[in-house]
Symmetry: none
Amino acid sequence: MAKRILLVDDEPLIIKGLKYTLEQEGFETDSAADGEEALSKFFSGNYDFILLDVMLPKLDGITVCQRIREHSNVPIIMLTAKGEHIDKILGLEYGADDYMTKPFNILEVKARIKTIMRRASGTQPTEAKKVIRVHDMEINSVNRAVNLGGKDVRLTAKEFDLLQMFVNNRGKVFSREAMLETVWKYDYTGDARTVDVHIRRLREKIERNPAQPEFIFTKWGVGYYFTDKD
Amino acid sequence: MAKRILLVDDEPLIIKGLKYTLEQEGFETDSAADGEEALSKFFSGNYDFILLDVMLPKLDGITVCQRIREHSNVPIIMLTAKGEHIDKILGLEYGADDYMTKPFNILEVKARIKTIMRRASGTQPTEAKKVIRVHDMEINSVNRAVNLGGKDVRLTAKEFDLLQMFVNNRGKVFSREAMLETVWKYDYTGDARTVDVHIRRLREKIERNPAQPEFIFTKWGVGYYFTDKD
DNA sequence: AGAGAATTGTTACGTTTTTTTCCAATTTGT
DNA sequence: ACAAATTGGAAAAAAACGTAACAATTCTCT
């Protein structure tokens, strides 16, 4: 049974990004653009998780959080813009389970949701693997280290995030836009060519022969994908 | 069998933080928000440990402590805000085993609970090593002393906490935010640059050449990590 | 309680590293 | 072969880090 997530934010861009990626992850999502809509949806629907912006039209996020808490222990992550003096303490005091500062990227969101889901359900594992092996490549997400045929490979933060995204979705073709939404902050408005450059450098580091990749393949006219069977 | 801890405090934030961390450590927790609830929970439930705030609604912590002591020797740590008269508690006149001054940090809490649990039960579960050696560095967590190649190194409290956090999680990359949550007091909402400065000072003391660290490495774009294999 | 010392936190700035942009060369599919 | 898409090199821009100097806070000792 798919988990249902309620996304509450008045910026359509954020809703769109979250919606897209979380649905790709197998969640069902629904959204609300202001505090009143959030409450009405929450009480009529049945949600397993809530992502709740603090600044909302009509009814602010903290009030929404409190109202929900009067009736439910559903996990809530609060979203705050950087600089909003809703510091963590305030947010947690009203019963939120965690908070995130905007802008964030999808990888972060997924990690937080998984952590909190696990904590809430009591059952632990279902945890993403800490070390992943593909051919002779070993990817350690705790150390953020990559080893290729016995040799350590030094990746930058973005390169590692990209690789991680690929490896966790082997075979899946990502468009450049999808990659920008996953690995970059949601408000990033850069060029899609940027992705090409990062792919190139990632290949230079993990492919023995970047012109004939073993790991990261080009899907002409679409994007890139990672696979272990060539 | 998991140890059960009763948390008594009227500040939801503190309950929340303690609950989270102690459950991560494998304890079961339950909480009470005032003195009466504390007593009623204590006498109906079965707890292995109690964290008890002094200032409580309805019935103060000292009275609660006395009442419990009339019936049980369960270990009790009292929590006091700074400035409260704790001398009497210190003398253990009311039967508490230890006390802590708010605000505290998570490392402190875990350490105290473990110490007292061990003293109380005689046996000690999953105890962290007292003396850890990495290369020619020796870290003694009992007297909080560090010796490097035969020479004693004087670390401040924060520096030692940081080092301890690192050494107990070798290889793991910590973001600045994660460090602030682990090593700093729970109500600290300072800047991430602060972490950099402490890292620098720690490096100045334990690294022969801070520009080319042997122990504490920078993970660009992410944070810092400690490792024994360079 | 208060002076002085030590520790901790803040800010600003130079340096290094990463990220992005731009454009030409090359490859790919029809 | 042609057009569209990708790749590669290099320079510009941005971000992250290290350092130092200073401010604030806490601790210590009288």
